[in-house]
């Protein structure tokens, strides 16, 4: 450390904006270069805050690239429990010169900038209305370590140490986390602890600790767990009894089958023989993935695939076959920004239409739409049951925001008395006893027919599955009346589906209101905060309805009928769920007001509040204001 470096440490700005002061309620953003090993350090930072009992919602913002491009890790710390994204950064940890200008610009007035001041930067690179905290990270780290890889990794831990002093993270918590992470590798633990304290000690000696943004231990995390949606969905597939997974790598879904593989290797390998109770195929493309899923499900195994929008496009022909031939299939669509390759590492809810009506001809498909990792787990297992029960494809609609970000969520729960619902399957005994079998014959009145698995009985119950039209006994026919009867039965089965899918959840404002808001999936965490803002700014309350599935149950129609204006908040350009509401419920389009966010970033409470608020101000006033 040269005295010159020390003099640069605090470059507080001579501005009139007072520095931000907040306890357990601010946004920290790390600007990094991908491939630099920063992800694990950032995760450590987030987890330490959680261990202090303070809710944190992190978001990875990353490019479609492996090394060298900018990434950000944004952490919303909120003792009030707000988990939606928030605009603006309170503390920017600027570790990437490439994005410096953009990063400095994103700091809120009065906010803080932490940066590596090994090389001096001209004053023009800073802002007068923020507090600048410089630390010579590179020279400091290079003095302590000589191996290039160590320099890179420990630099990350050193800045975590320095930040722990700047915002009051309990160092013991970080030490424990490092010890857990490197359990059994004592040398690594000691080395990481050393780096942590080097950074911390430096900050305590030379930097203005603490800043105006501080943390105090809290009790707001409770028993919640920290997990991403793809991992939770994969676990749901293990618990739901899936044995076959066929998939093709595509961001942001790949980590789902990869997690399924990990958990199967852990829980599904016969201890004595080493043999596996699962078959996972990385297929040659999405057409093949869905083909394998359909083949396996036709033959009585529970099977799924995971993909994103482009994969759904490729699977569409097969999805129509599964709908028409009535074969179960579970498809996880972790949505990203389309169309085409679009923004493959940015979030969106833009596959709603394509999944709801995938394939040619008249088709409709069941969608389950989870709001968080806990629901990803639940809906994953439920989808496997529903697909078997309804003998049709079932989509689980995640998005990048839910799928690839770790999120605080209720602990995963399983009832050991629960049994897989394999739906209507005739056994050899059923057939032997003389029960009549018609593969497409509706004997129960719910439009769901009985099936048999291949190989069940020597002389009874075999049938021919085809995408072409057939009669109730699966015999090929091009007779118009038989075709039409079958198509009408499929519609009736759709009505049965309405009684089986998770109903929409309604939350009333507590006071009478003519306004309602409909939303779904990853928009969910931003809604309570948005409604708080609207209540405060516009003095208006809204009833809420969170859609969890397609087809819509009667509760959705009732909600819309009970309100004069219903805002439909979505993360796509074309108001896709709104279209489904209009199409399926014949709701008046005038009643459904679009609030649409589709720039690839997660939707924020501020955005929703502004979108809804714009309609709440009476038009004459709005004009006057303009």
């Amino acid at each position: 450390m040269s005295p010159q470096d020390a003099s640069q440490m605090v470059e507080a700005a001579g501005s009139t904006v007072p520095p931000l002061v907040a306890v357990n309620d601010f946004v920290v953003k790390f600007a990094n270069v991908n491939g630099s090993g920063s992800a694990s350090a950032n995760q450590l930072f987030a987890k330490a805050i959680l261990r202090m009992g303070i809710p944190v919602t992190p978001r990875n913002i990353f490019p479609s690239n492996i090394q060298g491009l900018p990434t950000w890790y944004e952490m919303r710390i909120s003792d009030r429990g707000h988990m939606g994204a928030r605009e603006g950064t309170d503390l920017m940890v600027a570790m990437n010169p490439q994005t410096w200008d953009e990063d400095v610009r994103s700091i809120r007035p009065g906010g803080y900038l932490f940066y590596d001041n090994t090389k001096a930067l001209p004053a023009s690179k800073f802002r007068p209305d923020i507090t600048v905290v410089g630390m010579p990270l590179t020279s400091f780290t290079n003095a302590a370590y000589s191996v290039p890889r160590e320099r890179q990794l420990f630099k990350n831990i050193i800045y975590v140490g320095a930040l722990s002093a700047l915002i009051n993270i309990d160092p013991k918590v970080i030490e424990d986390l490092l010890a857990e992470q490197f359990r059994g590798r004592d040398k690594l633990i000691a080395a990481n602890h050393k780096a942590l304290h080097m950074g911390r000690d430096y900050a305590l000696a030379h930097l203005p600790c603490p800043l105006g943004l501080t943390l105090v231990p809290s009790d707001k995390v409770g028993d919640r767990i920290f997990i991403d949606g793809n991992t939770a969905a994969a676990l749901g597939a293990v618990y739901g009894g899936a044995t076959v997974c066929a998939w093709y790598p595509i961001t942001p879904s790949s980590s789902l089958p990869e997690a399924f593989t990990r958990y199967c290797e852990r829980y599904r390998v016969d201890k004595e023989t080493g043999k596996k109770r699962f078959g996972i195929v990385q297929a040659e493309d999405e057409l093949s993935s869905i083909g394998m899923v359909i083949g396996a499900a036709w033959n009585g195994a529970r099977a799924f695939t995971a993909t994103s929008g482009p994969g759904i496009s490729l699977m569409s022909e097969f999805i129509g076959l599964a709908y028409f031939a009535e074969i179960p299939a579970v498809i996880f669509d972790v949505q990203r920004s389309g169309p085409s390759t679009g923004m493959p590492t940015r979030t969106q809810q833009s596959d709603i239409t394509i999944c709801a009506y995938a394939s040619h001809g008249d088709t409709k498909h069941v969608l389950l739409i989870p709001e968080d990792p806990n629901e990803c787990f639940q809906f994953s297992a439920a989808a496997l049951d529903l697909a078997d029960r309804l003998q049709t494809p079932v989509f689980v609609m995640l998005d990048l925001e839910i799928g690839m970000n770790e999120r605080l969520t209720a602990p995963l729960a399983w009832d050991d008395n629960r049994r897989m619902d394999r739906g209507k399957v005739m056994t050899a005994e059923d057939l032997q006893s003389g029960r009549a079998f018609g593969r497409y014959l509706d004997v129960d009145g719910d439009a769901i027919t009985y099936r048999t698995y291949p190989g069940t009985h020597p002389t009874r119950g075999s049938f021919f599955t085809r995408g072409t039209s057939r009669d109730e006994f699966a015999r090929y026919t091009e007779a118009g009346d038989a075709y039409q009867r079958n198509m009408e039965r499929l519609l009736k089965k759709w009505d049965t589906a309405k009684t089986l899918v998770p109903p929409a959840i309604r939350t009333d404002a507590g006071a009478a209101t003519k306004y309602g808001v409909i939303f779904y999936g990853s928009t969910s965490p931003a809604i309570p905060e948005a409604l708080e803002i609207i209540a405060a700014q516009c003095d208006v309350v809204l009833d809420q309805l969170r859609i969890r599935a397609f087809p819509f149950g009667p509760e959705v129609e009732k909600f819309i009928d009970g309100h004069e204006t219903v805002f439909v908040v979505e993360q796509n350009r074309d108001a896709q769920l709104r279209s489904l509401l209009i199409n399926e419920l014949e709701t008046s389009p005038k009643k459904l007001v679009r609030v649409l966010h589709y720039n690839g970033a997660p939707i924020t409470a501020e955005f929703i509040a502004a979108g809804i608020g714009a309609h709440l101000i009476p038009a004459p006033l709005r004009e006057a204001a303009e």
């Binding site: 599904r268 078959g279 396996a296």
Partner: protein, 351 residues
């Protein structure tokens, strides 16, 4: 009329196999293909092969894609489950079905349009994976159902019915299959049932990916002068490398051919393939030699038929994946669901 059931009456003296079934028990409804279609001969060969192997019909799953060839599974094995899937995608559906229940026999039926054009990728990858199946391509070089367009197995220069020559190089399915790791590869001709039936039987007794390219002239669109897939052309250019006999457990094993002309290959599951050699220098278990031989003979304009390659000790996909002996579709909650206690531990590790 789109469905023609066959009369159930059968002659009381029809021979029965070890399971007490007659050949009629392996048949299906009446074919709706053109009279004289080569595909019907292949269906009949499948019926005979399954009858002679004493296979319980319900333990066979027959799968196909789209096209004339893919229609045929309706016309045989009426007591088996069948799946007429989408164009070119039979291999993936069959792979999934095979994953779900390793105990059934899988018969994939496809055509040259289905497997060499639209489904070339899926065909290739199912061979690579060693899916345990008998995959038959009923190869006529044209699209029949859409009225005579060339497929990807049509030879360059071959002429269609209107006299227009095909401009593109042909895909040789057997060479590709051997290259991609199929472990039983044969070519035959729908007009030569004596050769075809044993080849199907051998394939059904093989563990691993078994592929048969069966040239099957299209009487409606590709049986004219100038075609290289017509009955006459194939008969003239057919060069069989061997003649196969499949010996199952109940057959008496006699090797009554002169030494040097007959080879007996014992497959992994105990079945024996007795090969009467027609080409002296042909070594059926030598993959590289087989590929070489095929290229040389192709250059001479010959259509090499017979059992072209077999790896008697082949593994299949389940072997590679080390899957459990119990079929997945027979596993219940106790075998598959880790339970609440495991989940509680997982929760604890995620805080």
């Amino acid at each position: 009329m789109t469905y023609l059931p066959k009369p159930k009456l059968a002659h009381p003296d029809l021979p029965k196999n070890a399971l007490g079934f007659t050949r009629r028990d392996y048949e299906g409804p009446i074919s709706t293909l053109c009279a004289g279609c080569g595909h019907d001969s292949i269906s009949a060969a499948i019926v005979r092969a399954c009858f002679e192997l004493d296979l319980p019909p319900h333990r066979i799953a027959k799968l196909s894609g789209i096209g004339c060839s893919s229609k045929t599974p309706t016309y045989f094995l009426g007591n088996s489950h069948g799946f007429n899937s989408v164009h070119g995608r039979m291999p993936s559906v069959l792979t999934g079905a095979n994953l779900a229940n390793r105990e059934l026999l899988y018969l994939g039926v496809s055509g040259d349009g289905d497997s060499a054009s639209i489904g070339f990728g899926q065909f290739s990858h199912s061979m690579r994976r060693g899916v345990n199946m008998t995959y038959i391509v009923e190869n006529n070089g044209v699209y029949g159902l859409t009225k005579g367009q060339f497929s990807a197995t049509a030879d360059r220069g071959a002429k269609n019915k209107r006299g227009v020559a095909n401009l593109d190089e042909a895909i040789d399915m057997v060479s590709i299959a051997i290259q991609l790791g199929a472990t039983y590869v044969a070519r035959s001709f729908s007009g030569d049932k004596d050769q075809l039936v044993p080849l199907i039987k051998g394939a059904m007794q093989h563990t691993g990916a078994a592929f048969i390219d069966c040239i099957s002239p299209c009487v409606a669109f590709n049986n004219h002068d100038g075609s290289t897939k017509s009955f006459d052309y194939v008969r003239e250019h057919n060069e069989a490398v061997n003649f196969l006999d499949v010996i199952t457990g109940r057959d008496e094993i006699t090797v009554d051919y002169a030494p040097g002309t007959t080879e007996v290959v014992r497959q992994h599951n105990g079945s024996l393939l007795k090969l009467r050699k027609l080409a002296d220098d042909y070594e059926v278990t030598d993959r590289v030699a087989a590929m070489d031989f095929l290229e040389v003979r192709k250059a001479r304009g010959e259509i090499v038929t017979g059992l072209l390659y077999v790896d008697p000790d082949a593994e299949d996909m389940h072997g590679y994946m080390q899957t459990h002996d119990t079929p997945f579709n027979a596993m219940g909650d106790d075998e598959l669901v880790p339970g609440a206690a495991v989940l509680a531990k997982l929760n604890a590790s995620l805080r």
